[in-house]
């Protein structure tokens, strides 16, 4: 794991008034409206556990979501946040992230929101490396609108919009994210709360655009979709073994998450593939680059106030 961003670490200022630790109880909000048995319940539990570990100040946590079952997430966590329009949660969250360095911005959504209607934003938020943690609950189907084909629906999957089976090749989220330039790309499974928590924590500590795709079963419209990766359903939850750089012979065959090509190869493994951190790189965030631009620009303006700046501009326009 690469060095985490110091700016994202919890405050250690001893002078600040002591506040009670952030607990799951304090984070509880509306009771989720998901169907009984929905994988998203486990994602919610893992996220609350993650926040308990991170201990960010509660008022500095911001959750945004678009539209879909999983996009109801912000209502179920007691933090600042918002429920935006379909597919655009990333750009609104990026607007928050880029204008407020003091906040920790999370985005939640599903496969339709992220890979279909919001696909363009996924590519560009990744490219720009905006400091956001994005949790995608991928269920391979449109659930809120009651079973239409999603961009990750497997070929041949029967839905109301493809009654004879899906005809279009599904997106491979890991490949798409790696090639778009996301600087942290991981994959997990809603039946693995411990693993989800670990991935979410690493994603949240990553300084950049970090994405965790979580296979989260829709019990209503695609039951059993992810059994192949669930040991309790006779599947195999195969973890990515990351290099420890201990020099041992075993380490040679382990995955180097900074190796983009190796990550891409991992992403092409046959279904159900592997789980863990595929790719992680230390690349300047847009947040940092914009802050540097401001700092450089302000150096040239020699400590002038906003009023003095505008006055001197107008003086040039006389």
């Amino acid at each position: 794991m690469s060095s985490t961003a110091p700016t994202l670490a919890p405050p250690t200022n001893n002078a600040a008034p002591a506040r009670p630790p952030l607990t799951r109880k304090a984070l509880a909000a509306d009771h989720p409206t998901w169907c009984p048995g929905c994988g998203d319940f486990a994602v919610l539990a893992a996220f609350q556990r993650t926040l308990e570990k991170l201990q960010f100040p509660q008022e500095s946590i911001v959750l945004f979501a678009g539209i879909g079952c999983s996009s109801r997430f912000p209502y179920f966590v007691n933090t600042h946040g918002g429920h935006f329009i379909h597919g655009r949660a990333l750009p609104i969250a990026a607007g928050v992230s880029l204008s407020r360095e003091d906040l920790h911005v999370f985005v939640f959504g599903g496969d339709g929101d992220g890979f279909s209607i919001g696909g363009n934003h996924l590519v560009h938020t990744a490219r720009k490396n905006v400091r956001i943690t994005y949790i995608i609950m991928d269920n391979f189907v449109y659930g809120l609108t009651k079973k239409q084909t999603s961009p990750t629906s497997p070929f041949g999957f029967k839905t109301k919009t493809d009654p004879t089976g899906a005809l279009d090749q599904p997106i491979n989220p890991m490949r798409a994210l790696i090639s778009s330039g996301a600087s942290f790309v991981a994959r997990s499974h809603a039946a693995q709360v411990g693993h989800m928590t670990e991935m979410m924590e690493r994603a949240a500590r990553h300084d950049g655009f970090s994405v965790v795709e979580i296979l989260s079963e829709c019990v209503e419209f695609f039951p059993g979709a992810f059994d192949a990766a669930n040991p309790r359903k006779s599947g195999a939850f195969t973890l990515i073994e990351e290099k420890t750089h201990d020099g041992s012979p075993a380490d040679a065959s382990r995955h180097d998450p900074t190796d983009e090509v190796a990550a891409f190869h991992l992403a092409t493994r046959p279904w159900p593939g592997v789980f863990g951190v595929f790719y992680e790189t230390d690349r300047p965030t847009k947040n940092r680059l914009e802050a540097d631009l401001i700092a450089r620009t302000k150096e040239q303006t020699a400590g002038k106030s906003d009023l003095q700046l505008l006055q001197s501009t107008f003086a040039r326009l006389r």
Binding site: A26, A29, D30, Q58, E59, S60, I61, V62, F64, P74, Y75, N78, T79, H80, G81, G82, H83, F84, I85, G87, R88, L90, P91, I92, A93, A94, G95, V96, S97, L98, S99, R100, D102, L103, N120, H121, V123, H124, E290, L293, I294, T297, K298, T301, D306, L307, L309, L310, Q311, T313, F314, R316, L317, R318
Partner: protein
């Protein structure tokens, strides 16, 4: 000279050599290709007028091609109020044969035709003008020499105009040096060589056409600033406290985002070039949610793409400034021409019932002040505010009194003061005041902003009564704004035969039209609307004082014979006296087109009021 108020003839046999004749104002049209730098010359003349305490207005057309193509820049400068860029030119500078052929009819009979005789062969039988040929291209090559070829012929023309109009050479050369400051030394040197060659061109040929602009009689003691409408808007936004924004490039909006991208970092802010229009409005809403006053902008097609998010902004009650620099539509339409055809989109676009605020600046100066007003309204009412400007305002240069920035500038910071136990994001009895992220709350509960219908706490609610109450709440706050607006003042006769209503950039031509109607004995007034939605109170009383009410706007008369504002006014006031004067040629209104429009209507209704046809 040009001005209808001036009886001084120009050119022709009456001219006396060597003695420049005084004139009140002059309209110069430069016609060439877009790469000739005629905009640069026009901008120099405009800025010079501003620095000489004269009033000035410019008008330009730009080809929508990538490089090249015919282009014009028209500048009108002089003493007294300059309300339009002029129906006809007093001086036409024609760089090419096509410039001559396409723009000769824009020259007033008796006006001066200055042409490049390296490229232009004027019709020798056309005796309507004082034609002065000079080898502009070869003179420039001769003067500048080297590899520059004919680059610099714009400066040569500037030198020539400086001589003809006895312009202040010291001020002009200072402007040229400022403009090219920071560029390689030979750029400034070549510019000055060309300028001097133009200024020194043997005067015998043109001495019949020397003029002297009368000294200005400004009452204001403030210095004038000279800029185009997009610049004024960008600086107005900065003065209003806007520090964050996002957009996607589109003509003619782009220059605002280019300026903000350059300027905002100086103020500690950021302007994001988003991947598309949907992302742009979303980024801006993110900054707004985060507690800032944010802006996004576009032109017509881009505004259409922002509409879904705009619906969210109304529902979630977010402060946001949205600028639409209108152009000819629909679709890609006429991207470098002007139209006022996005009014209904601005007022009613989006889905569901989405009351929001729509403002329109009347001139370049007002672009600055309307941005400040939009900021005040957006903050106070937690609402998106659309500013409808247009291509002609975007590119038009005017001089105006430098604003009192010290008294106007807003220092904006997110309000992160802890909220009390009874904090609600959407209270039924009070306006929304969001608690931006980072704000602590006494209750320990944090608010959600949402596009779902919600209760006072922001929780989703499908309760029928709640939807009705929340819909009313969103509507009533906009109505409250309307009720608080002072009725606009009427220019001209306070009552009488004809009331001309305009909005946006037509303010100047409509004002001039009213002045001419009154000179012709018609009792006429002008009502200009800056607030288009909500409308200010008291309009009905004003309409009632006139027999005929004509709404002048640059859009189509539509299926029912009424332009877009006329439709809104007829719907609102159900008054049959409201009728339309519209046009759809992608060009700004000429004063004569408005007076002719009034005459046509009155003839059609067999009015006793007769208006003589306008002659310039």
């Amino acid at each position: 000279m040009v001005s209808p108020n001036s009886s001084d003839p120009v050119g022709g046999a009456a001219a006396s050599a060597d003695q420049p004749r005084p004139i009140k104002d002059v309209v110069i049209r430069l016609a060439g290709n877009s790469q000739d730098g005629i905009q640069t010359v026009g901008a120099f003349l405009a800025r010079l007028a501003g620095r000489s305490d004269q009033d000035v207005m410019t008008y330009m057309t730009i080809p929508s091609t990538i490089s090249g193509g015919p282009s014009i820049f028209q500048v009108r400068m002089g003493t007294g109020d300059i309300l339009s860029a002029g129906d006809q030119a007093d001086v036409l500078v024609a760089f090419y044969q096509h410039s001559y052929e396409d723009h000769l009819e824009a020259l007033r009979p008796g006006g001066v035709l200055l042409y490049d005789n390296d490229h232009v062969k004027p019709n020798p039988d056309d005796k309507r003008f004082t034609a002065v040929g000079m080898p502009i291209t070869s003179r420039t090559i001769e003067a500048v020499g080297g590899a520059a070829k004919d680059k610099g012929k714009n400066l040569l023309v500037l030198g020539l105009l400086a001589r003809i109009f006895q312009l202040d050479v010291a001020k002009l050369t200072a402007l040229v040096k400022e403009r090219f400051g920071g560029r390689p030394e030979d750029v400034v040197r070549n510019a000055m060589l060309a300028f001097d060659a133009g200024y020194a061109y043997p005067a015998d040929n043109i001495r019949d056409c020397f003029f002297h602009l009368e000294a200005a009689a400004r009452t204001s003691t403030r210095p004038q600033v000279t800029m185009d409408g997009n610049q004024a808007l960008a600086f107005g936004l900065i003065a209003a406290g806007v520090r964050y924004g996002a957009a996607y490039p589109i003509t003619p909006w782009s220059s605002i985002m280019e300026m903000l991208r350059t300027e905002l970092p100086k103020y500690g802010g950021t302007f994001v070039q988003a991947e598309d229009e949907l992302a742009a409005v979303s980024y801006a809403l993110g900054a707004a949610y985060a507690g800032h006053l944010a802006v996004t902008g576009s032109s017509g097609p881009g505004l259409s793409l922002k509409m879904e998010a705009l619906g969210w902004a109304v529902m979630a009650e977010m402060s946001l400034i949205v600028i639409n620099v209108q152009r000819g539509g629909p679709s890609t339409g006429l991207p470098t021409s002007v139209e006022q055809s996005d009014l209904l989109q601005a007022v009613y676009g989006s889905h569901g019932d989405t009351p929001r605020v729509v403002l329109a600046p009347k001139n370049v100066e007002d672009c600055f002040y309307i941005a400040l007003e939009a900021g005040r309204i957006a903050r106070r009412y937690s609402t998106p505010v659309l500013i409808l400007t247009d291509q002609s305002l975007a590119t038009r240069i005017e001089a105006f009194d430098e604003p009192d920035l010290a008294g106007l500038m807003i220092e904006a910071k997110p309000d992160l003061v802890e909220r009390g136990a009874n904090f609600k994001p959407y209270p039924l009895d009070r306006p929304t005041r969001h608690a931006p992220p980072g704000t602590r709350t006494a209750s320990g509960k944090f608010p959600n902003v949402t596009g779902l219908e919600h209760d006072e706490d922001g929780h989703p609610s499908g309760n029928p009564a709640m939807h009705a109450r929340m819909t009313a709440r969103r509507r009533e706050k906009i109505k409250a704004l309307g009720a608080s607006l002072a009725p606009p003042e009427v220019h001209g006769d306070p009552a009488g035969q004809v009331l001309l209503i305009g909005w946006g950039s037509t303010w100047g031509p409509v004002r001039e039209a009213v002045n001419r109607l009154r000179q012709d004995g018609v009792k006429a007034g002008q009502l200009h609307l800056r607030h288009l939605h909500p409308l200010p109170a008291g309009l009905q009383e004003i309409f009632a004082r006139y027999r005929d009410v004509f709404v002048v706007e640059m859009n189509d008369e539509g299926l029912y014979g009424f332009g877009q504002l006329a439709m809104l006014l007829r719907a609102r006031y159900a008054s049959p006296t409201i009728r339309s004067i519209t046009k759809t040629d992608g060009l700004t209104f000429k004063v004569r087109e408005i007076t002719d429009g009034v005459a046509r209507h009155l003839e059609a209704t067999n009015s006793e009021v007769t208006i003589p046809p306008f002659s310039s």
